[in-house]
Subunit: 215 residues, 4 copies
C-alpha cells in the first residue's frame, strides 16, 4: 500500500487535545472497556451522512452504542447465501454476541441516498439502474418502500420515503430468525426514529398508528 | 411493523437535553446543513465497536466526517456484480458524489471481529465457517491478512491482524477505479489508523516502512 | 513598484518545510478547496495582534474559518455611503455570499488598540485626536464602549473596554440589515469571546447576564 | 445584545484540547508575551479567505506576525480625511508603534473578491456598482489594476488581477509618508506574494522584472 499518507496535522493536533483532556479524565473507564470488553446497551443503525451525529443527539459516551452506519440506514432482508452482507453481519454480532437490548434504526431528513432511490424508481436516474452502480443496487432494498409512497404528492415523497427506509428496515430485521426470537422473548426491542436535521427534531415510529410522532 | 417500541425514556430525556443546549447554540449551522447539503472533508471507515468514538477523538462536529461503520472496518475488493454491497455503495457515494478529500480507515485494539477471524482461520471456530454465518462470511475479507500474520507468536497475532484489517482495506480501496483515479490525480488521499482503546493511543500506517507509528 | 524585496530567506526555508510536509499530506484537500471553492462554517473577526492565534486555539484547518482581522476586532455601524469600508465588505461577503452560520468576535487581553482608545478618551493621547491619525479615527468606533466603563476604577478599565469592543461590535453587526435578517431567521448566530493571552483563558459573552464567563 | 449565543460545543472542546497541550507546553512564552507586549517582526496583509493559512505556510508562532486580513488583501491609497480606514489604521500601528521590519502582502489564487472586481469592471455585475455594495466599493481600490489586465485573454485575467491586487497594494503602501520614510531609511522592507491554493505554490514579486517568480 504505497498510497497511504500520514494523518493531516490538524487532526493530529485535535487528537492530542482529546488525549490530554477527554481521555485523561476518563482513563480508568477506557482501561476497563479495553480489559473487560464492550457491553453496549443498544445497537444503532444510522446513515453515513455527516450531518447525523447519533452520539451527540443521545448524549452517548464510549461503550454505550454499537453503531452501524450505511447509506440510508438500510437493513436488507435475511439471506444466508454465503456471500458478504456487512449489515447482516453487524446485526448478527450485536444480537447474538453482544446481546444488545435495543436496536434503533435512525433515519433523517435531506437524505441523499433516499433522494437517489426516488430518482431511480421514478425513472429520472438511469445511471443508478446500471449493474455497476453500488449505490443503485444498495437502494434496491428500499424499492418496497417506494411502492408505498409513489402515489403521494411529489413534494411529500422524500420525507415519506425516508420514513419508509426506517419501516422497511424494521420489517427486514424481523426476518432474521435470531432477531425475531429475541424480540418475541422480550429480550430485544426495536425502535424506528427519524431526525429532522435543520429543526433538530426527532420522531419515533408508533406501530399502533403506523405513523411517526415527535418524541 | 407491530413490533416497534417507543424510544426508551432515558434516551428521550437525553435528546431533550441536547435540543435545549447543543442544538439551540448551533441552530444556524443545522439550518445551513439542511438547506445547503453536506460537504464533508473526509470519509471515515471504522468499526461498529461501541468503544470507538471517532468524532470525539478527532474533535469533529456535524458535517465534518461522512462515517461508514461495519464489523472490523473492512472494505471488500471491487466487485460490480449487481448484488448488494453496502460498504462499496458508501465508498462510491463519498468519492463520486461528495468528493471527499480523505478516506480514513480506523482500526482498533481488542476487536471482536478480528478475534473471530483469527479463531476461524486457525480452526478454532467452525461455526464461523458455516455458510449461514454472516460474521464469518464478512470476515473472509480479512483472510489475506491472516496469511501474513499466521507465523507470528500467538500473543501478537491479534494486534497484527487488526492492523492488517486496515492495510487490506486500503489495498482493496485502490481496486475501485474511481478511488484509484482520484488518488492518482492528487484529489483523494488514503490514511490508515489504529486506535489503542485502553491507552488512548493512535498510530498511523507509514507506507515507507510498512508499519504503524504513534501520531 | 521598485521597492519590493524578495522574501526573507528564513521564510522561504519555512515555506519549503510546509510544502514538503503539511501540503504534501493534505494535497487532495487543497486541490478540492481550489476547485470547488471555500465553504467556511464561521467568520472570525479578531485583532491583528500577533499574539492572537485563532486557528490554533480552535484547532481550525484551511477552509474552516473566514477570518477578518483589524485593530481591536471592531465592526463599525452600518453606513452604506459609497465610501470604502473594509470590515463591512468582509461581513457582507461572509453573510451574503458564503452564508456562514456563525460570526465570532474575538477580543483579547493587553490590547494596544484598546489602550490607545482609553488614553484618547481620557485625554491622555491628544495625538490620537488628530484628523490624520488613522488609529485614532478607527478607535472612535469604540467611544460608546468607553462611556460605559469610564466610571470604573482605573485598573479595571482596560479589561472592561476590551470586552466592550466585543459587545459594541456585536451591537453594530445587528445594524446590518442582512445580518439581522439571517439572525432572526435562525440561519446565523453571533458569538462574543475574549482571550486572556497570558493565562490562555477564553471567556464568552452571555447576553442573559451581560457579562463574560469562562468556557 | 440579546442575540449572542454561547460558543458551539465543538469549539469549546477543541479549545480545552489546545489549553491542555499547546498552551501548557508554551505557558512561559504566553506569560512573557502578555507581560512584555508583542514585538512582531513582520506585518502580513492577506485575504480573509478561509483557504489562506498564513501562519501555517510560514510556520509562524504566536507573537511573530501582526496580521491584517481583508477582502482581496488590499491597501487603499493614503487619505487622512478623518474618516474610518481600518486597513490604514493597521498599517499605521504596525509601522509607527510596533516598528515591524517587513510588510508582506499575500495574494492568492481563486480569489472571490478579485473575481467580483473582474465581473464588476467588465460590466457583468451591476449589483456591485451600487452605492450600497460594500464589496463593490471596497474592490474599487483594485480598478487601476483592472486597467492593466483588461487586454489580456480572458482566461488569464483573474490570475493577473490577483497579482495586481498585490502590486497595487504595494504601490499604495508607498503613498503613506511613514511607510515611505521607513523604507527609504532601510528599516522596513515590503514584499509581494501570491499563493496558489491548489498547488501549494508561493511566488514573490520581483521589481526588476515586474513579474512573479516561485520562491
Amino acid at each position: 500500500m504505497q498510497h497511504a499518507k500520514p494523518l493531516p496535522s490538524y487532526l493530529v493536533q485535535r487528537y492530542h487535545g482529546w488525549k490530554a483532556t477527554t481521555y485523561k479524565d476518563n482513563q480508568a473507564w477506557y482501561h476497563r472497556l479495553a480489559d473487560e470488553g464492550q457491553r453496549p446497551r443498544a445497537m444503532v443503525i444510522s446513515c453515513c451522512d455527516s450531518r447525523v451525529h447519533v452520539t451527540s443527539i443521545f448524549g452517548a459516551d464510549q461503550g454505550e452504542f454499537f453503531i452501524h452506519r450505511n447509506i440510508a440506514n438500510l437493513v436488507p432482508p435475511y439471506k444466508p447465501d454465503g456471500l458478504q452482507h456487512g449489515t447482516s453481519a453487524a446485526v448478527e454480532y450485536a444480537v447474538t454476541a453482544l446481546k444488545v437490548a435495543h436496536i434503533l434504526v435512525l433515519g433523517h431528513s435531506n437524505c441523499g441516498g433516499v433522494q437517489g432511490c426516488l430518482d431511480m424508481c421514478s425513472g429520472h436516474a438511469p445511471e443508478l439502474e446500471e449493474t455497476s452502480s453500488f449505490v443503485g443496487r444498495w437502494m434496491d432494498i428500499l424499492r418496497p418502500g417506494y411502492d408505498r409512497v409513489k402515489e403521494l404528492p411529489s413534494e411529500s415523497q422524500r420525507d415519506a420515503l425516508e420514513k419508509q427506509a426506517v419501516i422497511v428496515s424494521l420489517e427486514n430485521l424481523m426476518t432474521f430468525p435470531f432477531v425475531a426470537e429475541e424480540v418475541e422473548k422480550g429480550r430485544l426491542s426495536l425502535h424506528g426514529l427519524w431526525n429532522d436535521i435543520g429543526e433538530g427534531g426527532v420522531e419515533h415510529f408508533l406501530p399502533e398508528t403506523g405513523g411517526f410522532q415527535p418524541i
